[in-house]
Symmetry: C2
Subunit: 210 residues, 2 copies
């Protein structure tokens, strides 16, 4: 239970060692957050001495930044003309229900939430989310509220990820994917149509924070 790899006595290979450190860091940082993870722990998982972390990455912070940097949202850019509903469906499949075993089973953004007390992590998180995902959403919508609607769709997917992997809420964790998919499509549909549902009658007094 101490390390993920049963440690074959690896040959001398700086590239492989660097990669092993990154793999271990991804798992640990995702699971336990930045502050909850020590460099000795990561190095132990990788089967090397902790000093190598500083030789290869300079500092714990730089190791973190490199470990959680996500490659690219290679989806969402193939065909710039497919409808929003289709985009949401693909992202649901690839992002929320994707294979993120490298990051302990959840999208790295969810792991970053666990370290979002650090300003540097918040910046990286905002950049990856806004420029990596939300902008593609907004480009695909028209109307003056395009960005707001894009962020609402992102909020739904993000919240689903949190409920599923962090909270482990029962229904979302166990429901068949196709059923969830249909319901998500219905919600996203509400962002596309013109005016299906007016504002709820006489809600809480609007426009004032208590």
């Amino acid at each position: 239970m101490t390390g993920p790899t049963p440690r074959p006595p690896r040959r001398r290979d700086s590239a492989a060692t660097r990669a092993a450190l990154l793999d271990a860091a991804r798992l640990r940082f995702s699971r336990q957050g930045f502050d909850g993870t020590g460099v000795r722990e990561i190095a132990g998982d990788a089967g090397v001495d902790a000093a190598l972390v500083f030789r290869y990455f300079g500092s714990k912070e730089k190791l973190y930044a490199e470990a959680v940097r996500v490659t690219a949202p290679e989806s969402a850019e193939a065909d710039p003309h497919r409808p929003l509903a289709r985009l949401a469906d693909e992202l649901l499949h690839d992002v929320v229900y994707g294979d993120w075993r490298q990051f302990d089973g959840e999208h790295p953004v969810l792991g970053m939430l666990r370290s979002s007390g650090r300003p540097a992590v918040r910046d990286q998180l905002r950049t990856q989310l806004c420029e990596g995902y939300l902008r593609d959403f907004a480009d695909r919508l028209d109307g003056e509220d395009a960005e707001l609607r894009a962020e609402l769709m992102g909020a739904l997917l993000l919240g689903m990820g949190v409920l599923r992997s962090v909270v482990g809420s029962p229904a979302l964790s166990e429901a068949p994917f196709d059923r969830t998919r249909t319901l998500v499509a219905r919600m996203v549909h509400g962002l596309s149509v013109a005016d299906p549902a007016p504002a709820p009658d006489s809600g809480p007094e609007s426009g004032s924070g208590s």
Copy 2:
């Protein structure tokens, strides 16, 4: 910049000191997470010695558990018969856009995300979310997917909170409340109606995680 209170030499009063420690702990734990906050820091904010933390609360963990425990979701239980759209609207106003100055401006659940690497925090988080909020949603819905739909609505609100306060995404942070409210109502509406939008045509191959 060291402490929030300019420290009038408070009189000896165990109840007031306990409360001051709890207030400081709420702010610090919400902002920086459990691991990113030291007991000396909290005690310094409250203007007392760190040893009092252990006298009054026993351990840092117990202080945390008591600090982030939310009183009660006193909304969502007044009238058990109002429709889902109305409930969602109220929660949007009270939870996402509520006054959580005590917790550094965000619902305590969002702060708990920042410490969700600790199993104890995850448990508390799951309990508060599932039993405090999601169950009320599900009770108000009918159909076999009541719980799943309830969690999807919760996911939307939760994701909005994350985007707004953690990520600070531009549109959600600045959009007028009434506009956001209308769009959320549309999305939630999709969870109530019978069959407005079928599943998107030929999405990614369903039922298989790669």
